[in-house]
Point group: C2
Chain length 361, copies 2
């Protein structure tokens, strides 16, 4: 079958061996699979990502993954059941459209689909999924939108980690796919006002589309200047004074969805005292902070990653129930032979919001 | 009256003008006042501390404090009422021993005692306190111990900010005054096990004295190696596996009580996945972290500072009720003329736990 293979830090469209579903697995046809920012980073910096994972797991072996061997990316997918392996319940029939957290259990352990040497991710015509993890796409949700379950689950998780109360004002810094998922997650839970900021006009338009209440170009206006306009005093002394006068204001929460060095310290300095900064943007470089300022302001830095299976399922329901409208998020579709070019195109934030790969295209 | 004055980055014992209590104020005789690590730092780096405060308050004026003008340090005090100013209730009589959060209200605003050009702190024979903020020392609590209310309130606040549950294992890194206060705060609330680590034998002994369950010399053994011995899996995958097998373990919490560059990142790498790191040690230098590792492990960095008036009052009760036994914390007492030398002596962690200044000595 055909797939896009990462080999020698390049993307090559070529044949890979056919798959046979093992015990508990289903063979699926990949209908659509989004290109994630992590894929763009991993194309050139997989070794560094693996080193980070190794250090994060206390120096242990990160599941035997070899970043120099072939990998087929793709972890944001919607697929269709083609066949069932031995020991499956076949509760979902052949032809059923499904999504899944991108993890497949094998006899030797767990494979992270999209970052595995053993199993292909969604940039391949077919994949192997674990039957116990697949979820049927609820009737009527288009395939393109179902494929967005994974990136929007990231937003649901970040929002779940935020200490929001009913008066909270949230600030979302960066309106790429992570920022958009956070905005959608906030609005889906009824939170507001949500202030969103991005230098890119296209991304600001997308932020509006997903429900941000105020959308700001940081080149023109500081997003932090808006706190006070929503009644949140930024300095501790002003907060104490406001509370003495019986004024209430919610926990200020900032979502860092950029992932570049320097942003954290800029937020530590600009956010109101007592803010929670939920760090969802993945900065892969060493960063510098001034702990004394974070201490004086009693900042909380909450680093978040991924989502739980429950959050993934919850997000799928929110998309299918129309609580989150992602009908205009996909701005481009490509076949397997066009994936390498799409990776280049996505380097420009003005070009696209989300590109889906359709292996059958 | 006599006081120890910070002038030209030196400590000089000299006369300062007598004080007259204003509206709502009481004049007190300073009985004892602890020397704090912040004082040691401020002696040479006050300008930097003020710059940090200025940045933390969004660039505003930090209360008009001039770090180049004379200052009388001392914010950990026990005092005795000498006289009442106009408009006071006189609910506490002359001769009553009191403590207070080190803030005095004046007609022009708030003065932070110990870091004020207008009012002296506790390294002076007398001080002005705000009547509405003073607390009577409960019957029988020795003056030396009452003077420890302030530093131990810092521990109560740090513990209150920790997301401890009944199965939590806590690790306290650094057993200087902040670490000791955290250990005491944890044990006072019934938490355990508490693992404490410090390179200094004297500080390790103090940690044991305040109730740490395990005390470790990091030069001999990694304090982090002890997590697993208390049933806390350190890697995310091991945690997931343990939970699947029905095993429970509490939220791992690390208290950073050192305040030196590099410690935060060392803790981010060594702590179990999902740990909360409560940052109570004040690192005044720029620090470096690896956000990608903090994200992968979903670390929470909670920067904490000071305490509330309620936590201060609660700590005083805990000291007087014997819930926290601080009877052996004070290891030295000096008169005003010996304060400059005591600042030098405290540079050696082996020399002392806490030195009190007795202006009447």
């Amino acid at each position: 079958m055909r797939a896009v293979i990462r080999r020698n830090k390049q993307l090559i469209c070529d044949e890979i061996p056919e798959l046979t579903p093992g015990a508990g697995q289903v063979l699926v046809k990949t209908l659509a699979c989004g290109i994630c920012g992590s894929d763009l980073h991993a194309l050139h910096h997989m070794e560094h990502m693996i080193e980070t994972t190794r250090r994060a797991s206390g120096g242990g072996d990160p599941g035997g993954f070899d970043p120099t061997a072939d990998t087929v990316f793709g972890h944001e997918f919607c697929a269709e059941i083609l066949d069932h392996g031995p020991g499956t319940t076949k509760a979902l029939k052949v032809g059923t459209r499904v999504v899944s957290v991108p993890v497949t259990l094998t006899q030797t352990g767990m494979e992270a689909l999209g970052y595995s040497n053993a199993l292909p991710g969604g940039f391949a015509e077919r994949m192997l999924l674990t039957e116990g993890m697949i979820l049927e796409v609820p009737n009527g949700l288009p395939t393109d939108q179902a494929a967005l379950t994974e990136p929007f689950a990231v937003g649901a998780h970040a929002v779940a980690k935020a200490k929001l109360d009913k008066d909270s004002v949230s600030l979302v810094i960066g309106c790429g796919p992570v920022g958009l998922a956070v905005i959608a997650g906030l609005k889906a839970k009824g939170h507001g006002p949500v202030i969103a900021a991005d230098y890119s006009p296209r991304r600001r338009t997308a932020a509006e589309m997903l429900g941000a209440d105020v959308v700001i170009d940081p080149a023109v206006e500081s997003p932090h200047a808006r706190w006070e306009s929503f009644g949140v005093p930024t300095a501790r002394a002003a907060q104490a004074m406001a509370r003495m006068m019986g004024k209430t204001f919610g926990q200020p929460v900032v979502f860092e969805c950029v992932g570049a060095p320097g942003i954290l310290q800029a937020l530590i300095e600009a956010a109101p005292a007592g803010s929670q900064i939920v760090v969802a943007g993945v900065c892969m470089e060493t960063d510098k902070i001034e702990p004394a300022i974070a201490i004086t302001k009693e900042i909380e830095l909450t680093f978040v990653f991924g989502y739980s299976p429950e959050e993934f399922a919850y997000t799928l329901r929110q998309l299918s129930d129309g609580v989150i409208d992602v009908s205009r998020v996909v701005t481009g579709k490509v076949g397997l032979s066009e994936v390498a070019q799409a990776f280049v195109t996505l380097g420009d934030p003005e070009a696209h919001v989300k590109i889906l790969v359709e292996p059958g295209r």
